[in-house]
């Protein structure tokens, strides 16, 4: 039946199709990587070191060729004088759903999860929409790469996440199928039918089935009533069992973290990443000894669930102090939209240094949690996340200290390509700089 709302949505679709076409035309204009020198910068490399004054970054052929103090500028290269302003690597969100979501509460635009017969085999990469508004909004805020995490629909496995860039072009994928995602805490218990023992048993049984599948794929019967995994999901989990693909496990409580670490007794090749870990500080030495990186929310400090009773903002600082590689990302909310909160998360870690009894991070360490640390957790530390030579030319020039909420980027480069500095929100801002209509309605102001 052609209802009014159908007609409206069809009209909206043809409008948005035209807009998308126009955007594509712009995007297909060749945007070449610049050779570029930024000089006179308050420069942060992103590797945990503290910022230096009067630093220089050189970018050539889309990559960082040098960054630091006293770097000679090759002749003929375009040079930008930062005039003391801040330069950082493009920031990396350690946990997001950017590109999978336009409006989270509008189901048609939310591809983060599915009630599907498939789980582990789900691959988010082909669904990433580089034209999604949250990508442009995040990019304008200095976020240039993101870990994109699917969420569970039916069962404990959510599927394979990706690492993406936020550039204004149609090639968003930095690494497809970068990791598998599984829930083994409170959410995992729910996904497994109601209890943690059921979640752990499900996990172990499924991995045994994957081992069976790997031994003899042709004879694996994913359709038998005893099978938990269909063939497609079993196949997708083979690299997890062999350690070729990292397994990101969401758990929060100290108890669940210990349980997850012990899974390697039976599955020694598992390459674990722990997401969440609100109580990670309680078992930080064990996490560090297991060499498992953690992606945390950072500002969790409430007993918002019974698996977060010991949550504190000092969690990240205490884990870093114990030797854990900690990244920050958006846990529990706004994962598709608010990647720009990364600087607020990091800045607050610095604030803790002035609170007696709290454990914070130095400025350089804080920046690392939103740049090189998530890159390293994804096995991409040699490609993105810092301004070390050979890394992607992802650079942000800021109008102030990047971790201050009053600051914002002046310019953003991704792979050495200068990025647009406007987005839908800046257009709305400009249209309504004065709310009253002029000689024509607001609709003509664009």
């Amino acid at each position: 039946m052609m209802t009014a709302s159908n007609i409206r949505s069809l009209r909206a679709k043809s409008r948005s199709a035209r807009a998308a076409f126009a955007a594509l035309a712009l995007l297909s204009t060749p945007a070449l990587a610049q050779s570029l020198a930024i000089t006179g910068a308050t420069l942060a490399i992103g590797d945990g070191s503290e910022p230096i004054r009067n630093g220089t970054v050189l970018i050539s052929a889309g990559k960082v060729t040098a960054a630091g103090a006293g770097i000679a500028i090759p002749p003929g290269i375009k040079a930008i004088d930062a005039g003391g302003k801040w330069v950082t690597p493009g920031l990396v969100s350690g946990y997001s759903r950017v590109g999978l979501v336009e409006v989270p509460a509008v189901n048609e635009t939310n591809d983060a999860s599915a009630r599907s017969p498939f789980s582990a085999a789900i691959d988010v990469a082909p669904a990433i929409n580089p034209l999604a508004n949250p990508i442009a909004i995040s990019r304008t805020a200095g976020i240039t790469r993101a870990v994109v995490v699917p969420s569970t629909g039916i069962g404990i496995f959510a599927g394979q996440g990706a690492v993406v860039d936020l550039g204004a072009d149609m090639n968003a994928i930095t690494r497809a199928r970068a990791f598998q995602y599984v829930e083994l805490g409170e959410e995992g218990a729910k996904d497994a039918g109601g209890s943690r023992p059921a979640a752990i048993l499900t996990f172990r049984t499924m991995l045994r089935e994957v081992q069976d599948y790997a031994k003899a794929p042709a004879s694996y019967d994913g359709r038998s009533k005893d099978a938990l995994l269909n063939r497609v999901d079993a196949q997708a989990l083979v690299p997890v069992v062999t350690g070729a693909m990292p397994l990101m496990v969401h758990v929060e409580s100290a108890r669940d973290i210990v349980t997850v670490l012990s899974l390697r007794q039976d599955f020694p090749a598992l390459k674990l990443i722990i997401a969440g870990a609100a109580e990670g500080w309680m078992v930080a030495p064990q996490i560090a000894a297991a060499k498992v990186p953690v992606i945390a929310g950072g500002l969790d400090d409430l007993p918002s669930s019974f698996e977060k009773l010991a949550a504190t903002q000092s969690n990240v600082g205490r884990m870093v102090k114990a030797g854990v590689i900690v990244s920050m990302g958006l846990m529990d909310r706004d994962e598709g939209l608010q990647l720009r909160l990364a600087t607020q998360q990091a800045g607050n870690m610095v604030a803790l240094n002035k609170v007696p009894g709290a454990t914070g991070l130095s400025w350089g360490q804080a920046l690392r949690t939103i740049s090189s640390a998530p890159a390293e957790a994804m096995g991409l530390g040699d490609r993105i996340g810092s301004l070390k030579p050979g890394r992607a030319g992802d650079v942000v020039l800021w109008d102030g200290d990047p971790l201050e909420m009053t600051s914002a980027p002046i310019a953003v480069w991704i792979d050495g390509v200068p990025q647009p500095i406007d987005n839908r929100q800046t257009k709305l801002r400009d249209r309504y700089a004065t709310p009253q209509e002029g000689a024509l309605p607001k609709a003509y102001e664009w």
């Binding site: 509008v106 019974f306 604030a351 609170v355 009894g357 109008d399 201050e404 909420m405 009053t406 929100q425």
Partner: protein, 461 residues
């Protein structure tokens, strides 16, 4: 906030049949319209404080004023003196050096669900939305408040919050009465209740009411349905109010009592509303029935009608940067706060969030920076009005708190740096002159009953 909606849906889906009886209002007094004056009175009493002065700090007075190298003197729970470096201070009092630090009035959050959607976020404690009818003007948020929510203590220690309004959720068109609290731990809600603060009425436009009830096959399922149910309800309320004012006998009706108080200007309307066009409809409705909207909350499109808000004397209580999480939030921009401020409308930074309430100063900083980048240069001390006198006015408590004026409640925060910096935290917080948080003293960190004896109790949070 999204959490709250989900909780509302869960709650409405999972109400056990037997629980309904417990929630029914007590039988009304038949044949009498006499209302008890104040049936759940505040028992809050200021805790003892010592006469205290802070010297050498930068002071934002909360009304837009700034004193560099200032002096503030607190005694008997009040601000007793404030001024420049020459302000006289009596001898033999607690004297703090505020050099390099800042003093502000305590942060006031006009929109919180601490206590009615507390931590831990479990169904058993989810008491913020009576999502069983679109019109629940008869419920009072104070009867849902669990004083043991650890969120109150976090808002104090990390956010410098000294007063806050707790609202019912936004599932309903008429959500019920709000309550204003002092952020002081107590055994009972009454022990936190702000003495003399007027009540508020929570109303909601837009997606939430139409979704919650539309999905049950009930009215409203559309925005026009929202407005129709609102108007029908106001018609009844006017009749009730007219009879009451004339002293005519009628059966007491808790919801109608609240709405009649709104029509008489005794209860302040706090209206959850996102879109510009819907706010304009609500403004017309308020004129149709003769009540005033005190503040639109969330109002992500307030910047589109900032002139209308100014001309109608309506405050906008806003987030720093929330956008896009649902359709009616799609046009949220970071410049909302500075644009509304520049238009001359009353501007407030609010949280609606147990985490955001710990960083309202940082939300204001986002707005300051976004404004300055578009040429709206608002001074730091002026921006502090968004967290102080403006919410105090919209909550009807500005004669008692919300700024550092002599004679007002000594609700004061000493910050360890500029509070618009991410690197700054409260160092000390006084409420009515009592030192209730001191970052240097672990025993001056509130530990709620819920946390006591649990792992992490008393830890720095």
């Amino acid at each position: 906030m999204r959490l709250i909606l989900i909780a509302a849906l869960l709650a409405s889906a999972a109400t056990p049949a037997g629980a309904k009886k417990d929630r029914e209002a007590p039988a009304p007094t038949q044949g009498s319209s006499a209302e008890p004056e104040n049936p759940y009175p505040s028992t809050y009493k200021a805790y003892p404080g010592v006469a205290t002065a802070i010297r050498g700090a930068t002071i934002f007075d909360g009304e837009g004023g700034r004193i560099d190298n200032g002096v503030i003197f607190l005694s008997d729970g009040k601000v007793t003196a404030i001024g420049g470096p020459d302000t006289p201070i009596p001898a033999d009092i607690a004297l703090f050096d505020g050099t390099g630090k800042y003093v502000t009035p305590g942060v006031i959050d006009i929109h919180s669900h601490l206590g009615d959607y507390p931590s831990p976020s479990v169904d058993a404690l989810s008491d913020g939305n009576e999502a069983t009818s679109p019109v629940t003007a008869h419920v009072w948020a104070e009867h849902s408040i669990w004083p043991q929510d650890a969120g109150f203590g976090r808002a104090l220690a990390n956010g410098g919050v000294t007063s806050l309004q707790i609202l019912p959720g936004s599932a309903n068109l008429f959500g019920g009465r709000s309550v204003t609290l002092k952020n002081v731990p107590a055994r009972t809600m009454q022990g936190m209740k702000f003495p003399g603060a007027p009540y508020g009425l929570k109303m909601a436009c837009g997606e939430n009411p139409k979704r919650v009830y539309g999905s049950k096959g009930r009215e409203p399922s559309t925005r026009m349905g929202n407005m129709a149910v609102n108007r029908q309800t106001w018609i009844k309320a006017r009749e009730y109010q007219k009879k009451r004012a004339a002293g005519k006998d009628q059966t007491r009706d808790l919801g109608m009592e609240t709405l009649a108080d709104v029509l008489e200007g005794k209860i302040l309307v706090h209206n959850h509303c996102y879109r510009a066009d819907e706010m304009a409809n609500v403004i017309d409705m308020s004129k149709e029935f003769g009540y005033k909207v005190t503040a639109f909350h969330h109002a992500v499109e307030a910047y589109k009608i900032a002139d209308l808000l100014r001309d109608n004397g309506i405050c906008a209580a806003l987030w720093g940067d929330w956008y896009g999480f649902k359709m009616e939030a799609y046009d949220g921009i970071k410049e909302n706060i500075p644009l509304v401020h520049r238009a001359g409308a009353c501007t407030i930074v609010h949280s609606d969030d147990e985490n955001g309430i710990q960083r309202l100063n940082q939300e204001a900083a986002k707005a300051l920076g976004a404004g300055r980048r578009m040429g709206i240069d608002i001074a730091d001390e002026v921006a502090w009005t968004w967290l102080a006198i403006n919410p105090a006015r919209a909550m009807g408590i500005a004669d008692q708190t919300g700024s550092l004026k002599v004679g007002k409640m000594a609700d004061v925060v000493l910050w360890n740096g500029n509070p618009f910096s991410t690197y700054t935290r409260p160092e000390k917080v006084w409420i009515d002159g009592a030192l209730l948080y001191d970052s240097a003293n672990p025993k001056l960190r509130p530990v709620s009953d819920f946390e006591l004896g649990q792992i992490g109790a008393g830890d720095v949070k």
